[in-house]
Subunit: 455 residues, 2 copies
């Protein structure tokens, strides 16, 4: 419960329609896509950087937890107000401050949706490359907080590669300005990328200068079906060695394919054990040659069939079918987004199969193969204590395997609350200690998203 | 002078052939390409990370300044041992630890030359995009310390975009490991990019995991000559709006062209007031179309002549001629590397002309126009006190103009000692204070490259 005095002061900073304190109202801000529930004691909706600063300063003075929040689409619990306090919803900071095609820049407030940025850039022939599957309804503030990726990251990189500068309010209440407006700049430390991916634990971003990329003239795609995962993995390596990197290189494993075949008989060949969906983009005239190169790289003894599919709907059909099916059969599945070096994919997929059988936990794996970024889904029933215990042990071994293969525990979802128990597997003690000291520097009273990211 | 006791302890860490203390020997490590001279009291040549750690720990214990150094090619004084103490030369940490084409990764020690990385990657069809003009003899440690760029940054980005992870020793003597081995990774704060560009003030990099990029199949180029700088600037904007970004887009102003014409009559048309050199790269079959698009974008009323030049030597001829000429006529010129938004280039070039005439200081300007990154050279005679005073005032106004145009004071050279007096023009007080606190966190006794980067 918040002290009455604090509520009064908070109420003085915002008009009543931009502050929720009734528990029923606050409940809508208690969860995100991690499906955990932690109700905040209040929800504040600032619309200006000055309001953000005033709220942060007040929470800092009173040592009240403050959890910044975009649209709650994160899957790692990064926006959950675990320790109560104030949820700082940035969803009403919606201004696209400037669209500057000559300099390939958009400046926007954190509540602006990813899709809105795309819509603002498109008439000028540009786009903003981060494309999380939530792009239509996730905010750039959230994209920045997690350094969101998506299928196109294999060619275009992730959020951190597409931000030039930020304005932000630190946990200590200081207004800072990082980076610059230009594509080059090396004056001072790179605080921009320190904030990107910091999951709201260091500062609240109030404005972002985003770097745009020219839209490709054309896109096309290829689907390839394999008899075994090993052949599929070899093809991934050959595709990634082409002089032109594909704009997407997505993978579905046998578990994923079985799920689709179970519901949509005939959509996929019966003998496909692994499938690739590959997108290429660029100048229209270059597309046929690019497709030919990819098709050539796809060919090996394990290939059943590969073909060009020019329309995006057909290309992504199997992939789009999968997520709702997964949600249906295992609504509370454990969904990870580990990354291993591309060359370690065969070994990783073997290991997953072994761990699945060892622990009796079905898994379904798919994802951004060109980055080695695999969404590992453990299909569990959370109401079975025994199954959950086995799943936890299985997950622990999966993470150990990832680290042994020189991978990382999260490619795009972030640590949040879901992975903090495991972060020490990846980050050694002195480096973690340094990160904690950086947190203390930005947020001396530990008010910003307290408890997140660290074990 | 170093305490005798310290020298004894330092001597115990390294064999005598890897430690210099004779002032005559040390003098070779007193300067860099900034042409200032500050002799260190000792020069240490570690060859292992453990030796680096031991040297840092000893300097930290004894509070002795320690200035890390690559190959001394920096132009901002970043590697000058201004406060004496120990110069830590990393030039003997020369191991390429692994070349892993399947994962597009090279792991290397900091003393490895940029060119060595290119040579190691090339047989596998890859390259490492940072290409400072010193690439043949600058080390990747130095490239990382300054987030070096080069002409290809317009398409490929700068050093910070091509590093996956680092091992380093902080000023406090802690060994840290940042980032990961994969192209995606969002576990913990992005310390990798905090160290990149920090000019040796936070930690000594002992190992870098570099991300490789597929070599383009082909390159070609175009030169374009303009009657006036305004038309040239318009062409730059049109070229940067093409769906395929050129791999280089370099600019020479009238002062540069006059210098070349003076020495090489006939090399350039007499009426050219501004010139572009544009490189495109990609699949061989795409090159003609790309050249045609660029040629089309070059065309405007101010264009005198534009033509395709397939061989690199011809494309870069004028540019390569320029640097030695500049050094000849003004060996101690003031050389800046400011950046303005591309759309502000015409205004910036006008402003430079006005300031040149106001202060009676000739300037010659050229550089990476696609990034708005212009090398402004003030042709001064440092022996004339009056001229140097005027130049300093002129430079001060140039920096003010850059900031007014929403630019940055350095695109690729860094702050070092040369620009620290000006950094507050760009970075506001709270942000600068935060950077200083980060410095204190990594380097509590201020031993690493003390005095650099901050005013």
């Amino acid at each position: 419960m918040l002290p009455v005095n604090f509520i009064t002061q908070l109420g003085a900073l915002l008009p009543s329609e931009r502050l929720l304190t009734d528990p029923v109202d606050c409940y809508a801000y208690a969860y995100d896509n991690s499906r955990k529930i932690f109700p905040p004691d209040a929800v504040a909706f600032p619309i200006t950087p000055l309001e953000v600063q005033a709220i942060v300063a007040l929470c800092n003075d009173c040592e009240i937890p403050l959890t910044p929040r975009g649209r709650g689409t994160g899957t790692s619990g990064g926006s959950l107000p675990e320790q109560g306090g104030v949820a700082l919803s940035l969803e009403r900071m919606l201004r696209v401050i400037s669209v500057d095609p000559a300099n390939r820049v958009i400046v926007a407030e954190p509540g602006v949706l990813n899709q809105t940025v795309q819509d603002a850039a498109e008439p000028y022939g540009f786009f903003w490359p981060p494309d999380p599957s939530s792009a239509a309804y996730s905010s750039i503030g959230g994209n920045l907080a997690t350094s969101a990726g998506g299928p196109h990251a294999v060619k275009y990189g992730t959020t951190r590669d597409h931000v030039l500068g930020l304005k932000a309010v630190t946990g200590g209440g200081e207004v800072i300005k990082t980076g610059c407006y230009t594509t080059k700049g090396v004056v001072g430390y790179d605080l921009t990328r320190l904030l990107v991916g910091s999951e709201g634990t260091l500062a609240v971003i109030t404005e972002a200068t985003l770097k745009l990329t020219p839209l490709p003239q054309s896109r096309s795609g290829i689907t390839a079906h394999y008899r075994d995962a090993g052949s599929c993995a070899s093809a991934i390596l050959r595709i990634m060695a082409l002089p032109e990197t594909p704009s997407a290189l997505e993978f579905l494993d046998e578990g994923s394919l079985d799920l689709i075949r179970g519901r949509f008989p005939g959509m996929l060949p019966d003998d496909t054990c692994a499938m690739l969906m590959i997108e290429v983009d660029g100048l229209s005239r270059y597309i046929p040659e690019a497709c030919a190169s990819v098709l050539d790289a796809c060919r090996n003894v394990g290939l059943i069939h590969a073909e060009e599919v020019a329309d995006a709907a057909t290309l992504w059909l199997a992939r789009k079918t999968l997520s709702p099916l997964l949600r249906e059969i295992a609504p509370r599945k454990i969904n990870e987004d580990v990354v291993v070096p591309v060359s370690a994919l065969p070994q990783f997929l073997d290991g997953l199969a072994q761990l699945s059988s060892k622990y009796g936990i079905a898994n379904v794996n798919f994802g951004h193969a060109g980055n080695g970024n695999i969404h590992v889904n453990l299909l569990v029933n959370p109401d079975s204590g025994d199954e959950m215990d086995r799943a936890e042990n299985c997950l622990n071994e999966i993470f150990d395997l990832v680290i042994r293969l020189n991978g990382t525990l999260s490619g795009e979802h972030g640590v949040g609350s879901e992975k903090r128990a495991y972060i020490s597997k990846e980050i050694d003690a002195p480096t973690l200690a340094l990160m904690k000291e950086i947190k203390r520097l930005f947020d001396p009273r530990n008010i910003l998203n307290p408890g997140k990211l660290f074990p």
